[in-house]
Amino acid sequence: MNTEVYQLGKELDSFNYQQVQDDILAILEKGSNAVIDMTACNYISSTGLRVLLYSKKVAAAKGLKVCLKGISSEVKDVMDVTGFSNFFDYA
């Protein structure tokens, strides 16, 4: 099964969520797993957290995987205390 890496930008919030969501879903649509490279990302908003979790759930429904990579300690911390990090695998 193919795996495609998606490079996230500096921020993921309501200003760019639609594009990010569309891009990740396009990868899944092709039947590929997605690795979201968050190395550059230093802020993720509530909307952004939901984009990631939604992608993960769409993937699961298709028998695919979404995993996160290069996540900064600040972003990971936000995901930990809000409970979102528990849903993901990490590359």
Binding site: D13, S14, F15, S45, S46, T47, L49, R50, L53, D77, V78, D80, V81, T82, G83, F84, F87
Partner: protein, 710 residues
Amino acid sequence: MHRVDLFPTHEYQGLKLRPGRPYPFGATVVGNMVNFSVYSRYATDCTLVLFHNREEKPFVEIPFFKEFRLGNVFSMIIFDLDYENIEYGFRMDGPFLPEEGHRFDKSRILLDPYAKLIVGRDVWGQQPNWDSLYQYRARVVFDDFDWEDDLPLETPVNDLIVYEMHVRNFTCGAASDVKHRGTFAGIIEKIPYLKELGVNCVELMPIHEFDEFENHRVSPVDGRPLYNLWGYSNVGFFAPKAAYASTGRFAMQVDELKNMVKQLHKNGIEVMLDVVFNHTAEGNEQGPYISYRGIDNKTYYMLTPEGYYFNFSGCGNTLNCNNPNVRDMIVESLRYWVTDYHIDGFRFDLAAILGRDQNGHPMSNPPLLESLAHDPILGKTKLIAEAWDAGGLYQVGSFPSWGRWAEWNGRFRDSMRRFLKSDEQVLSDVKERIIGSPDLYASQGRGIKASVNFITAHDGFTMMDLVSYNSKHNEANGEDNRDGENHNNSWNCGCEGETDDPDINSLRHRQVKNAITMLMVSQGIPMVLSGDEMGNSQQGNNNAYCQDNEIAWLDWNNLEKNADIFRYFKHIIKFRRQHKVLRYDEHLRHQDYLGLGYPDFSWHGVKAWQPETGHNNLTLAFMLNGHYAAVPEGSPEDHPDDFIYVAMNMHWEMHGFELPQLPQGMAWHVFANTGMPSPDDIVEPGEEPLTGNQHEVLVGPRSIIILVGK
């Protein structure tokens, strides 16, 4: 099939609109639309004010057109709003006639009474912009938290061990050793500690949004800033306190709190909220406009015939709880916390106010309390009343309950404190408290489960201070020591405050162990004050509501310093959880109704079976027969419990207690003896050694012994 009502009908400054749905009140997201709805009986006009996040000036103010009103409700739908990046408020127009109860002022921007996410006080103690026209700002909430299979735990109420705690005080201390001090996330980090202690319910002091800067000033003693630390002063009834979340600066407090509840539930710990529906943060006539005063003053507040605020709360105003619309708001708030946050129960601050009518008179069947008792969504939610108010209404034992409401049993606190300090006038009352206060709760058939027992709570001395101070020492609060309770029933054991006298310190430790023993072997729901398990002190301050510093913060160094106290707490809590016979939900019969040769419960004195033989009303003993503890068939506890015998000697001399004889083949084993130094004061439950003398035990001065017959 597509709906046909998803198209805008109006446009205003580039925003697409249509008439909203009046219900539900507040801001609700539906697809690409946000529905805004607000109720005001007396407003003549309303405007929705929208800001970009944290901006001082609104980017648009949209009037509610005539066709956007139904009855007394203003509602509109806005399409394609980037709602993560807007804050909203309302301007209300209407009469300013205080003598008639109206205080409308359209120059004010008002918080939605149903706001579910409030920003503006996002990082604790960070000075806000005091000139800002809109201080507490509503945002639209994400309500799609993934709970997986979590639900409220529905632990039987008589099995609860409640731990009353404050989000900030719990982990703010430097020695707490958590990453996110003073936050919901900090509590998650301490879950292993709570499990080790053995409590199965945390009762959080108010976590609804409030303003820590309310009544902000400096301490006259040391010049430190004083805050509204406790938060008994609501800004919003639907929104969590932003500054209690480590992610409050990102406005993620909703997700962080939900995650905390989910993690506590995973570990078998319920979450109860202390809710303050008796007043708001708007104070009296001199107070600020935050929301209710400007939205619909006459609806939300109890007013005198002259239009002044009734003050049954002692905090300036009184919420008009039995106005039908305010009642609905309270019910909806509670339903929301249960539905969206999976909260297990509520403790109602100054709950007697909830039973007053709109003129302040107590009602015999208050509709609000009845609604809550019968509410379908709250059907298995614990409801606990602080059954008094600041206006002199005291309803311990008589709070209207419909079989659903439990009460903070203030009589338990008072009687046990007096017994603890060897008051000779209180024995008969103490005996009622030990058996679940049948004098208060049996006649209405409310059962033992109506009684929440406690010796200490946030109001008043901590347990260590209860045995270290004769008088309160609240000078640092800046009210010349006038604030706080004067009748504490405390005894300092020979010296006021801290001492290096080993005898006094030893006695204090013993008295703390006596107190927690009285609590854990009594029938009813025990509530422990957070920090008592490590001998936390507030330096004699019995009203630390404003001390956001080491006076009120738990000093986690005490865990090592008072290791014997923590060990004792841990074992006695586990003992209670292991012995069903200590956790009846209905009152005892004191009869041998199973024909076992022993009653379910019996009183004793220094002579077995002779309760009248005691010393100066300062000794008592009782025995519980484990065969009577009903257990569901097939449950892990499906076997008869043990006999439990407790001898309390609050006399300053040692006394011998003759032991009742056990059935053939059974023998007495010692579980606890507070008169012994640690580690001989208590053992791991289940590991009790055989008692040398099966006929008599010697109970030291001011000591308690617990024996297990098995």
